[in-house]
Amino acid sequence: MSVRFPRGRSCFPLAAAVAVAAATLPATLAGAAPAAAAAGAEKAVAPAPAARPADLPPGIQAEPPPFTEGIFPCSQCHDRAADPKPRQLAFHDEIQGDFHHGAPTRWCLDCHDNAKRDFLHLTNGDLVPFTESYRLCGQCHGDKYRDWRVGVHGKRTGMWDGQKTYFLCVNCHNPHNPRFKALKPEPPPVPPSKQAASSQEMHP
């Protein structure tokens, strides 16, 4: 494989392939099942897509950010469990180089499943598809998870009293480098003294 990752948030490795898989599949965006099906060789039974948290109000899940092109399913390269020992990687070095999420105590396989690479896993070993990554995030960030489920943390759009689109953790936070990035601000307001050069300009 000659896939290289651009820097930035798109190096979320799984990301690309849902885009690829989704292109060949109907709009069921990137569910666990399609991902597993695309994996082909993956004979493992996909975990039943866990229901969205029951306490979420009626809503639509926003589309997760796209994977780097050609990178997913991971199983196209990782066809078997590999050496689980933390080490410097030769291939995913860009992610490893820009990894700021509890490094150095954390390592790929703490979240990515070694045996079934197209999934994540919880600390209890349960597999989690990429579309439900919030369950994984919520293991450590329980306070944010709780706030997110009731709509206090994170963004929602749509109806305040009805159907909402809710965004996943990874829509705003790069899982490998989760701090929210600084933005260029929109222009400041024009002070009253500079609003118009002349009264003709103000009152044409």
Binding site: P57, D143, D147, V150, G151, V152, H153, G154, K155, R156, T157, G158, M159, W160, D161, G162, F167, C172, F180, A182, L183, K184, P185, E186, P187, P188, P189, V190, P191, Q195, A196, E201, M202, H203
Partner: protein
């Protein structure tokens, strides 16, 4: 309000028995203007608007007639199908707004989303309903150490936090009390509204507001045709004339249709929360029940329905 009876200056009803009411005066004035041929331009519309009653006195038919007239006028003026509704407050709804100061990064996306949604004048005069204040962490919420004019390459800046300020939709609004013509009032769903056609531009409300939330159209608003948002509400985002005051209405053209205000939807950090304070399951109630909440200038007892909070 109980002493109102002892103040003969301000009457509860715009029509004064026996006196020269605004309406009678305008009727007479418009009549003579028509006679003199002064109002040749769209004369019937102009006369109709001058003779208009207070919004609250209009019958359903008169209201529909007026909205249709406005729709036609702006459809012609802006070259696109403009709708003007007059959505009533939803029964059982009391709006509350939450703003998470621990999230806001001061990017001003909300300011411009609001301008776009609400048809503010773009420049000369530039009117913005939201003002984002950059404050110093050393000083906390302190207007003596705040500026709206910050313009760095990237926000947030170290050592600073950001506090967007817009109409706080007070439970005891000082602005509505001082209006001499009752062109502004608080609606049952909590939104303080302005009838721009009833406003006489005296700016008493602008002076009374402790939050700087009210903006005055010092010149004819400049609203480019292609940028005009054609989905409007009479008390919300419909085009305003010169010489009237305007302010945030929680996007009532959206919120009374069940939608989030534009600033909530644009916020890239999800700092803005909106919902029904009477619904215990709403996002805003979760904020009120579980987070550290404060209101701006609490000591003035305006009791805003706009709550600042810290989620962490």
């Amino acid at each position: 309000m109980t002493h109102r009876g002892r103040l003969p200056v301000i009457q509860d009803s715009p029509a004064v028995e026996g006196g020269l009411s605004r309406r009678r005066f305008l009727q007479a004035a418009a009549g003579s203007a028509a006679l003199l041929g002064l109002s040749a331009c769209k004369s019937s519309d102009v006369l109709e608007e001058l003779r208009r009653r207070n919004l609250k006195e209009l019958s359903k038919e008169q209201l529909q007639e007026m909205l249709a007239r406005l729709e036609k006028r702006w459809t012609d003026e802006y070259g696109k199908k403009v709708t003007v509704t007059a959505k009533p407050p939803i029964p059982g709804v009391d709006f509350g707004y939450g703003l998470d100061l621990s999230r806001c990064i001061g990017c001003r996306r909300c300011v411009y989303a609001c301008v776009k949604e609400n048809n503010q004048s773009r420049k000369n005069p530039q009117i913005q309903w939201i003002r984002v204040l950059q404050m110093e962490k050393d000083h906390g919420v302190d207007l003596a150490h705040a500026t709206p004019y910050y313009d760095p390459e990237k926000v947030p800046e170290a050592g600073h936090f950001y506090m967007p300020v817009q109409c706080q939709q007070c439970r005891h609004p000082p602005c509505t009390k001082v209006c001499p013509v009752k062109a502004t009032w608080k609606e049952p769903d909590g939104i303080v509204v302005i009838d721009y056609d009833w406003c006489i531009g005296c700016r008493c409300c602008t002076a009374a507001c402790p939050y700087g939330a009210r903006k005055f159209n010092w010149a004819e608003p400049k609203l480019p045709k292609e940028e005009m948002n054609p989905v409007t509400d009479y008390l919300g985002n419909r085009p305003r004339p010169k010489g009237v005051v305007e302010k945030c209405t929680f996007c009532l053209q959206r919120s009374r249709a069940g939608r989030y205000p534009a600033c909530v939807e644009i916020c890239p950090v999800g700092a803005r929360k909106f919902g029904n304070l009477l619904d215990p399951k709403s996002e805003i109630r979760e904020v009120m029940d579980r987070k550290r909440v404060f209101v701006f200038k609490e000591d003035l007892a305006t009791e805003p329905q706009f709550y600042y909070f810290y989620a962490t």
